[in-house]
């Protein structure tokens, strides 16, 4: 696994929901990318210095493409959203550890995503679906994906194509009315490992549910980042134990993460 800066061409880009964009890049990083990892894109406006971390929504090694689904949150992502086919962008990657996919073997897997936490789980769902029939196959996979409302629903069909998917909406405009954790409880979903990504309150609730049931739960965390490669120590998460890098209780999300065993995080 190596990290580098490269220039990638945009193959296509579209808006999936309000402010949520789907960008496909032509890049050899597609051969290395694993679910849960991320890349960081540089702005062409050099007054915006820092690369923007974006999770990988899927990678097609054969086609040499990387799919990124992201939300416009400021000027930097705003700049990316205006790129179209043929334009290019500087990419730092592949970054982060990714989900430990081998632990899904023979397990009843639950994928839990919320909002912009949904995209990286699609990559994982695809990999788990590809494993079907092999030794590495999970026993079953269910995805529970939460959205604010119908207008902000995206990637639902992509999920349905590869796995058993349950959608939830905060306002009841579609799917289950409530949070993903409400849905897991209401439907009494039976699982023995969870992989998740989403807003902190969602992850906290899921981690607590899994702790009560004594089920292993992996969470993907986010934090404001600067370097993306573990030198600046900007993006740390509080851990229950002493971290290996600094011997304190602050682990680097960009390098030791972004995926952590929920029991290692100080919630």
């Amino acid at each position: 696994m190596s990290k580098n800066v490269s220039v990638a061409k945009i193959i296509k880009q579209s808006e999936l929901a309000e402010g949520i964009y789907d960008m496909v890049l032509d890049t050899p990083l597609s051969a290395e990318a694993a679910p849960g990892q991320f890349v960081a894109l540089y702005c062409s406006d050099s007054s915006r210095l820092l690369p923007r971390p974006i999770s990988i929504c899927s990678a097609d090694a054969a086609a040499g493409t990387l799919r990124l689904v992201y939300r416009v949150v400021g000027a930097g992502t705003g700049e990316f959203s205006k790129l179209s086919a043929g334009d290019s962008v500087r990419v730092l990657g592949v970054l982060g550890n990714g989900y430990p996919i081998d632990e899904a073997r023979d397990k009843k897997v639950l994928l839990v995503g919320g909002g912009l936490g949904v995209p990286p789980l699609l990559f994982l769902a695809k990999k788990l679906s590809e494993a079907a029939g092999s030794d590495a196959a999970p026993a079953a996979v269910t995805a529970v994906m939460g959205y604010r409302n119908l207008g902000l629903r995206f990637l639902s069909e992509d999920f349905s194509a590869v796995t058993n998917a349950i959608d939830t909406s905060d306002d009841g405009s579609f799917g289950f009315h409530g949070t993903v954790v409400d849905a897991i409880k209401a439907k009494d979903l039976n699982f023995d490992i969870a992989y998740s990504c989403g807003p902190l309150p969602m992850l906290r609730a899921l981690a607590s549910l899994c702790a009560d049931k004594n089920i292993k739960c992996y969470v993907s965390l986010e934090e404001r980042m600067a370097c993306g490669v573990g030198v600046c120590l900007g993006c740390v998460a509080k851990t229950t134990g002493v971290d290996a890098h600094s011997l304190v209780k602050n682990t680097r999300i960009c390098t030791e993460g972004p995926v952590f065993d929920s029991r290692d995080i100080e919630w």
Partner: protein, 306 residues
Amino acid sequence: MTAFSTEIKIAGVTFKNPVMNASGTFGNGREYAELLDLSKLGAIVTKGVSLTPWEGNPTPRVAETPSGMLNAIGLQNPGIDKFIDRELPFLEEVRSSGTRVIVNVCGHSVDEYVSVIERLSDKPVDMLEINVSCPNVKEGAIAFGQDPDMLRDVTKACKSAAKQPVIMKLTPNVTDIKALAKAAEDGGADAISLINTITGMKIDVEKKRFLLANRTGGLSGPAIHPVAVRMVYEAAHAVDIPVIGMGGVISGNDALEMILAGASAVAVGTATFHDPDAMIRIIGEIGEYMEKHAVTDINELVGAVS
């Protein structure tokens, strides 16, 4: 093509070129080893090392600003013992290529600085840079760098403990940088480096909240470069010891401004976050400038502004 030399000397230590990283923006080199050729650098300056592990500040610790960024990391680091165990062997390897190793030392008290310096006395380290200028830790650090008398005393204490030449890293958050530069020189410093970050603040107006958990942070990046050049100029003209210039350098021209203002060497910080190859590019651009202007020895450029 004219032959030219980029070799510089600071306190008896020869550097193959005047470009190094600024402490805290490059880890201990290892993290960037797959992104650039470390042996091309004049020196690697380590992340600040303290006596015991420091946990740093709460998050968010970083925020982007126009042509810059604020950080309030708080010098999170594993402490000197782990540094010696884990990081120094790698740095020793890089050092064998002629790239110099400078260890940045931080502390909450004079005793802590001295203890770290003593642990490094028999280690393969070329120079020590003493951080008396971090704006993000509550005790020590910047306090030592803002009062000339305290700075002189801490410099003296570091110098008497050190086996390697000592660089005092100065803060720009003072009224008169010349007085601080002189105090470091009076205390026996072999060199000074400046500027550390400028204290700043950013507020999210929608949420009416500070962007950084620490409320204030240190501003770095191209936004501070003209301030840094001015302060390097003032400091270089106030002392006879060499100056290492830093603050917002992102191009060869930015580095040359520092050198013309009086810096013998230049450190590159935030630019590496924007372009991991920035230091290598800057070394190349300095070379191009020297060729273009038929400068055979980079030392001719030091302080050559008129």
